[in-house]
């Protein structure tokens, strides 16, 4: 009896491992072949010249990267993407935090209000972008109708190189706001009331409570919202394409982003090597920005 039990125990361990490998067979094939291997292929392709038609993929070393460095449109795409991020992320964090703080104070209709703010986040980006294209329309759009009604001059919005990028950013903020609000509401609810009560007994005012209790304890939520938001803005594509559909990238490339640049170079100009090089640059940017943010933002305050 004892010997048999020992024997079964051993084979149980081995059997468990065998089952595990059976379970992981298809998934590992997927992750290696569809997710990891293509990343190396992108690196490889970025060192080659290939126009999609021929079979020949000549090794050209860093030529594609040099071409990128010398392309003013790529510089433009980089600069624009930076602008989107620097304007959009703080805007949605501040607005989201403000709305969450206000929502936390109300007792009636909180669920309904939260649902309304969340609605744009659920909406298909393509459909929302086309609605906004109409709202922004310079001649017949409701926004200019509104400006006219309050006695302000009409604005070109998406048709102006100076305004287009900010008009696009406003749509993205509108769309992301609900997500940020929900994250902050959850963060606020996890802060124990006792901290506030103790601080109030010590005579702390509303400002001090916010600065010394709410903000530090909300740090994990803020880090998350900043990191996720930044990654989203660095990968901006769908809104940009669909808001200026006839002039993708906006007037004078004023709304062009890195991903739209990659799409154009790869699937309109068929310079696959150069496009692959741009994806490698994007990967490097996203990786370093994310690691930097995680390090700096989460280190600052630790409790």
């Amino acid at each position: 009896m004892g010997r048999r039990r020992f024997g079964i125990r051993l084979s149980l361990n081995a059997r468990q491992a065998l089952w595990a490998y059976v379970f992981l067979l298809v998934p590992m094939a997927f992750f290696l072949y569809i997710r990891i291997w293509p990343a190396f292929q992108a690196f490889d392709l970025s060192l080659r010249e290939w126009n999609i038609v021929g079979e020949v993929r000549t090794y050209v070393g860093g030529a594609n990267y040099e071409r990128l460095a010398g392309d003013p449109r790529f510089a433009r795409a980089l600069l624009n993407t930076l602008r989107y991020t620097v304007v959009g992320v703080p805007a949605q964090i501040v607005l989201g935090l403000a709305i969450a703080l206000l929502l936390e104070r109300v007792t009636r209709y909180r669920g309904l209000l939260r649902a309304v703010y969340f609605l744009p986040y659920m909406t298909p980006i393509v459909a929302a972008a086309w609605v906004w294209q109409w709202l922004y329309s310079p001649n017949f759009g409701p926004l200019n109708g509104f400006l006219d009604a309050i006695g302000m001059p009409a604005q070109p919005f998406l048709d102006s190189p100076a305004q287009a990028l900010y008009a696009v950013t406003a749509v993205v903020v509108w769309q992301n706001l609900g997500f940020v609000v929900v994250i902050f509401l959850a963060g606020l609810q996890s802060i124990s009331r006792t901290y506030y009560e103790a601080a109030r007994i010590d005579g702390a005012g509303a400002r001090a409570l916010f600065l010394h209790i709410t903000l530090p304890l909300l740090n994990p939520s803020i880090v998350f919202a900043v990191v996720i938001g930044t990654i989203q803005y660095l990968q901006l594509f769908t809104q940009v394409v669909n808001l200026n559909f006839t002039d993708q990238g906006g007037p004078l490339d004023s709304t062009l982003t890195i991903v739209l640049y990659i799409y154009k170079v790869a699937f309109q100009r068929f310079q696959m090597g150069q496009a692959a090089a741009a994806t490698v640059v994007l990967f490097a940017i996203i990786l370093s920005v994310t690691l930097f943010q995680l390090k700096v933002l989460s280190r600052r305050i630790e409790y």
Binding site: R15, Q16, A17, W19, A20, F23, L24, P27, F30, F31, I34, R35, I36, P38, A39, Q41, L45, I99, R105, V106, L113, A115, V116, Y117, F118, L119, P120, M122, T123, P124, I125, A127, A128, W130, V131, F140, P142, G145, F179, I183, A186, G205, A206, F224, A225, Q235, F237, T238, N242, F245, V259, I262, Y263, M272, A275, T279, V280, L282, F283, I286
Partner: protein, 275 residues
């Protein structure tokens, strides 16, 4: 302090700000819906309500474009992908959380590392592979990059880890197979995580744009976002038609939201806390 003196005034102000914000948020939807009922000659008048409301725009979009086909395509791709993700991500998550075997950590780190790679970097190699294997312009071609996700594996692993090992050991003694343990005992216990993952996977695929835009070539294979974008480009300034098509594109999302509001909100929180 000063707010304490006049609490009712503060409350009025609070609701005033929140309701104004909510109205601004909702305005694009209201405009879209109202324009979709206006005949063409009314759309540039800027009146909020349609003077002669009509269903003509909806009929036009449904009867004279491939809209219904695009809708069906999106449903097929999004449903199949969601089913696949739910099955595989939970199986892998369970295996990594609950089974002991050599190489477990390496495999986990490998899958986790895929989260760092932006999709854009993979798209060109995917396109090459799809062309070589004849996947371009097929449902499989649209769906294959998303049939499993590193994020889902991570999420499910977190949840399976909270299950007690004794439970599974008891099952093992009763002679249940390892797959049976996963399917009949562990899976029903993580239903909240499954519904959150399922809803977000469905919505993500329903709304996907970049990859479908690249891999789809024929009009008939377009998913809703691709079909809608290209149709709108062709429709030009017929905003009444575009708004009708947009209204219909939003319906399933609204339905999902109305039905699963709690799970969706919890899902966002879940991903926020766990991610």
């Amino acid at each position: 302090m000063s707010q304490r003196v006049r609490p009712e005034l503060g409350m009025v102000l609070l609701y005033g700000v929140l309701v104004t914000g909510a109205m601004i948020t909702v305005f694009p939807f209201a405009w879209m819906l109202l324009t979709s009922f206006k005949p063409f000659h009314e759309i540039f008048s800027l009146s909020f309500l349609p003077a002669e409301p009509t269903l003509e725009n909806y009929a036009q979009v449904l009867l004279h474009t491939d809209y219904v086909r695009w809708y069906a395509n999106s449903l097929i791709v999004a449903s199949a992908t969601t089913a696949s993700v739910l099955f595989w991500d939970s199986l892998v998550g369970y295996t990594l959380a609950k089974l002991r075997f050599p190489g477990r950590n390496i495999i986990f780190v490998l899958i986790l590392s895929t989260l760092m790679i932006p999709t854009e970097m993979l798209i060109i190699p995917w396109f090459v592979t799809s062309s070589e294997l004849g996947w371009v312009d097929t449902y499989w071609g649209i769906a294959f990059p998303g049939i499993m996700t590193g994020f889902g594996v991570f999420l499910m692993r977190q949840f399976f880890q909270t299950l007690p090992d004794d439970l599974l050991d008891a099952g093992r003694i009763d002679g249940i197979t390892e797959f049976g343990l996963f399917w009949r005992i562990a899976l029903p216990l993580v239903r909240p995580a499954l519904s959150a993952l399922g809803i977000f996977t469905f919505l993500g695929n329903w709304n996907a744009y970049l990859w479908p835009l690249i891999v789809i070539q024929s009009k008939a294979m377009r998913t809703l976002p691709v079909g809608f974008a290209l149709f709108s480009g062709e429709a030009g300034s017929e905003w009444n038609l575009i708004m009708a098509a947009a209204s219909m594109a939003i319906v399933p999302v609204l339905a999902v939201f109305a039905l699963f509001q709690r799970q969706i909100i919890e899902g966002v929180v879940l991903t926020g806390v766990k991610g």
